[in-house]
Symmetry: C2
Subunit: 202 residues, 2 copies
DNA sequence: CGAATTCTGTAGCGATTGATGCAGAATGGA
DNA sequence: TCCATTCTGCATCAATCGCTACAGAATTCG
């Protein structure tokens, strides 16, 4: 008595929602939440405003979904980096991933999570708070990973996981700003290597 | 035969241009270039749009002048820090100044130079380029100061002034992002202290 | 005084903002 | 076939955007 696999009723979509969301993400990445107008977004997505509202709700929800896509896509290196076996490996992978992600030739420079809504007007406050929460999550995950490293003896017992996490996050966000200023990738990688030379901050 | 000290002709201004510019700077600082609407700006400045245009030109020129005021005012710690006697003193003063400036209780959190136009739409590209140029200037000044330190023997001859400058600038910009995320001042200061513990990056 | 000059307030400009109403087109189910 | 459902394109909405025209108010100069 299985339910019949009835297909979706009504007229089917004339576009690929996944690809449209990818394009929207890139626009938000490059121009920020408020800097990305509906006309700019729908133009890049290749659909009309009506289709966008039908498929994604409104601009804020579109941004939310674009951010989700960014987190699991271009920024997916973060959770992967947390699975590195050592704290130093985690730190190095985070910085290397940040540099790769923020200086991709075919992508906007910088990090969507940093530059899409650092400061905003009234309409962008929700997006700004969303990004603040995500950045805070990132710091917490790294801190907890470093705490585990202390518990496991990978980091010395006197190491401060919160301090080390804040150090890595600060470097990553700083790197994102440098990348948005068009600082070349190799210079950033040299910086990251040097910044981890004294790990774990004596 | 001195020229007569003729006062300004015409109706005098009904407001203090300096204080109005200060208010505008704070609005740009908090909301960014595009996020600061004319209504928001003139409201905070306490003048009408007509008076703003008569006194400052247009929104872009107002931003330029507000940025000048920011550079010599709240961000004046930078050039002062460059006059510290040692490279380590310079680095510490820059980070401490950044932390103080980006976490002032009565001011917007973060750094205007970082968050006012990291990403922008069409109308904000000029402001974005202006800030990129200023951030690049800051890096150059610090690099030259560290080069001098190498020449004077304050830094070891094998030290890389460009790398050290990029390290400090990256930390400062990262700190600005943390401050915009409401990370408390004392945590940032502990981070700065730790980040300079291995100076000059072994 | 009158003339010239400069600033202020109101009112409004054209353009763009995010968001919708509506009719028609395209599908599945009965 | 006919209906219900869903998507699309066109036109448009009210609000806000940055900006300005215009007339009057306030000053200096002659």
């Amino acid at each position: 008595m299985g339910t019949k696999p009835s297909g979706p009723r009504g007229r089917p979509r004339g576009f690929d929602a996944d690809e449209a969301l990818e394009r929207a993400m890139l626009v938000f990445w490059e121009h920020g939440y408020e800097g990305a107008s509906l006309a700019c977004l729908t133009g890049a997505m290749g659909i009309s405003t009506t289709s966008m509202y039908a498929a994604f709700g409104n601009k804020q929800e579109l941004f939310r979904k674009a951010l989700d896509r960014y987190i699991t896509g271009p920024s997916g290196y973060l959770v992967r980096a947390l699975r590195e076996p050592t704290a130093l490996g985690v730190a190095g992978a985070i910085l290397a991933g940040t540099i790769r992600n923020t200086t991709r030739p075919a992508h906007p420079h910088g990090c969507l999570g940093v530059q899409a809504a650092l400061a905003a007007g009234d309409s962008g406050q929700e997006a700004r708070d969303l990004l603040i929460a995500w950045r805070d999550d990132g710091n917490s995950w790294i801190r907890e990973r470093f705490q585990r490293a202390v518990d496991e003896g990978d980091l010395p017992p006197e190491a401060d996981p919160g301090l080390l996490a804040r150090y890595i996050v600060t470097l990553a966000h700083g790197i994102a700003v440098q990348a948005a200023s068009n600082v070349p990738r190799d210079e950033l990688q040299r910086l990251a290597d040097a910044a981890l030379r004294g790990w774990p901050l004596s």
